[in-house]
């Protein structure tokens, strides 16, 4: 097929753009986890903040991605480089699934297990790290999985503001009116999403509590 021959001929660029894409998705997912998981734990333990936090993350999700990129442009330091900006925007979009699943995961831990643990004299941090998190990890991971799949898709739009990645093939192909170039971006992006979905899904199953 034409597009595969094109990809083989330009394999260096395909790999380079894929690496750029992974960088965007990787950093943003990592940051979203570093912010979202602790936030999810906090609202699971203090239901008072539950509403505002989840509502906030929800609102961010409803902003169209290109619009969000535009809003963030005037920011100092972050707005100067579109890849930083893209990582920020992607992080924001990844927050909701991660916060929500962390919340659900922690709340879903059997209350009698937590009670027994507390009654035995486990400190709150021991309870969190040795009991609640290990039991919630499968649910949290499924939130991470959703976040990654969303990010892979959104990162293609980031090319529109010059952040690079596989979306650049798509936009260039559109300008050149060349399907091969479009697909050289679209196919690897789709494969990335499928791979992430499958890979993290496998990890989820392995870590499921008995």
């Amino acid at each position: 097929m034409n597009v595969f021959r094109f990809m083989v001929q330009n394999h260096q660029q395909v790999l380079e753009l894929t690496a750029e894409h992974l960088r965007l998705v990787g950093f943003s997912t990592l940051f979203a986890m570093l912010i979202g998981i602790p936030l999810g734990i906090v609202i699971a333990h203090r239901p008072r903040f539950n509403q505002p936090v989840l509502a906030g993350a929800n609102i961010i999700q409803t902003i169209p991605s290109l619009a969000l990129f535009g809003f963030l442009l005037p920011l100092p330091w972050l707005g100067e480089r579109s890849d930083r900006l893209a990582i920020l925007a992607l992080t924001l979009y990844a927050l909701l699934p991660i916060i929500r699943n962390t919340y659900t995961g922690i709340k879903g831990v059997d209350a009698s297990v937590v009670e027994a643990g507390r009654g035995m004299g486990l400190t709150e941090s021991q309870l969190l790290f040795q009991v609640e998190l290990p039991l919630a990890v499968s649910v949290i991971l499924s939130g991470v999985r959703v976040a990654i799949v969303i990010s892979v898709g959104l990162a293609t739009i980031a090319a529109a503001i010059g952040a690079g990645g596989l979306g650049e093939f798509i936009f260039r192909g559109l300008a050149m009116v060349d399907n091969r170039v479009i697909l050289a971006g679209a196919i690897p992006a789709a494969l990335l999403a499928l791979l992430a979905d499958f890979g993290v899904g496998w990890l989820e199953k392995r870590l499921q509590p008995r």
Binding site: Q12, Q13, E16, A19, E20, L22, R23, G26, F27, L30, R81, S82, D83, P134, V137, A160, I161, G162, A163, G164, E168, F171, R172, A175, M176, L203, R206, L207
Partner: protein
């Protein structure tokens, strides 16, 4: 369970680390998404390929000035063709000047200071706004400059692109500088249709680009901007200082293009691609051979 989590995180971290762009063994040339831009970029690419041992990768059709700027800042491309006027107003966000040398030096200085980018020498043409009229009218009315044409302007119909109409350094400033007034308001048209509309007498004056290939093809005349209203848009190579440090031979190679392309030459090259539908690679190769820039 803790062990596998750590393993996964290590894999992720190493993946991320390996994803930073670095291509010290080759040069990546970018271009915007119009003919002139990728003609110039292709010329850069072939020039470097023929005269150095470097491999060149092409990343053309980037959707605009902002995208190219971001790409070169991030190190995804090393080199791309830009215009001094565009760099000054769109990227440095400064007011346009009219002196070619001053603009060039200002852009070069600021780029080096702020972005660790530098400019190669100007290639010899000025792709600024061109106020075009039919060749017949120019000869009949003996018009060479905009000031001379100002007397006839009121009765003429004008066709402008959307950007020229809206930009403050477009129509508004021009009309103010030359005291122009059209009885019939100028029509906003698609850039691609301007030249033909002019030829077919649907309009009498068009605002196009100075290096448009259709100018010589259709025998159009560009009225000289004798009051120096339009800022200079000299084409220059923009290159990363880091890339120059790693491959100093590029400086020599790009230096050979200095002043090698006149306005007319660029018009002809554009027409070869847009009008005669020749392949960009072939047109670039032929140009380089003709100018004896490649062995």
């Amino acid at each position: 369970m803790n062990r596998s989590v750590i393993l996964v995180l290590l894999v992720v971290a190493s993946l991320l680390a390996s994803c930073s762009p670095s291509h010290s063994d080759r040069i990546v040339v970018g271009s915007k998404n119009f003919t002139e831009s990728f003609l110039l970029a292709e010329i850069f690419a072939q020039l470097i390929e023929a005269n150095t041992h470097l491999k060149v990768e092409r990343r053309f059709y980037l959707a605009g000035t902002y995208i190219c700027q971001q790409a070169i800042l991030a190190g995804r491309i090393d080199l791309y063709p830009e215009y001094t006027g565009t760099a000054l107003t769109a990227i440095l966000k400064e007011n346009a000047g009219s002196d070619k040398q001053a603009v060039y030096h200002k852009v070069k200085r600021e780029y080096e200071r702020r972005f660790q980018l530098t400019l190669g020498p100007a290639m010899g043409f000025n792709d600024t706004f061109a106020m075009e009229i039919r060749g017949d009218d120019a000869r009949r009315l003996n018009l060479a400059t905009l000031s001379q044409a100002a007397a006839f302007i009121p009765h003429w119909r004008a066709g402008f692109g959307y950007e020229f109409m809206e930009r403050p350094d477009g129509y508004r400033g021009l009309a103010a500088t030359y005291g122009l007034h059209f009885e019939e308001p100028p029509r906003v048209m698609d850039l691609g249709l301007l030249a033909r509309a002019l030829k077919d007498h649907q309009i009498d004056l068009a605002a196009g680009n100075a290096t448009d290939g259709l100018i010589p093809a259709l025998g159009l005349v560009v009225l000289a901007d004798d009051r120096h209203y339009f800022p200079p848009y000299e084409a220059v190579p923009v290159i990363r200082e880091q890339s120059l440090q790693q491959h100093p031979e590029i400086a020599d190679v790009l230096g050979r293009l200095a002043d090698k392309i006149s306005d007319v030459e660029m018009q002809r090259l554009n027409y070869a691609v847009d009008g005669e539908h020749l392949d960009v690679k072939d047109v670039a190769r032929e140009f380089l051979k003709r100018k004896q820039l490649v062995p």
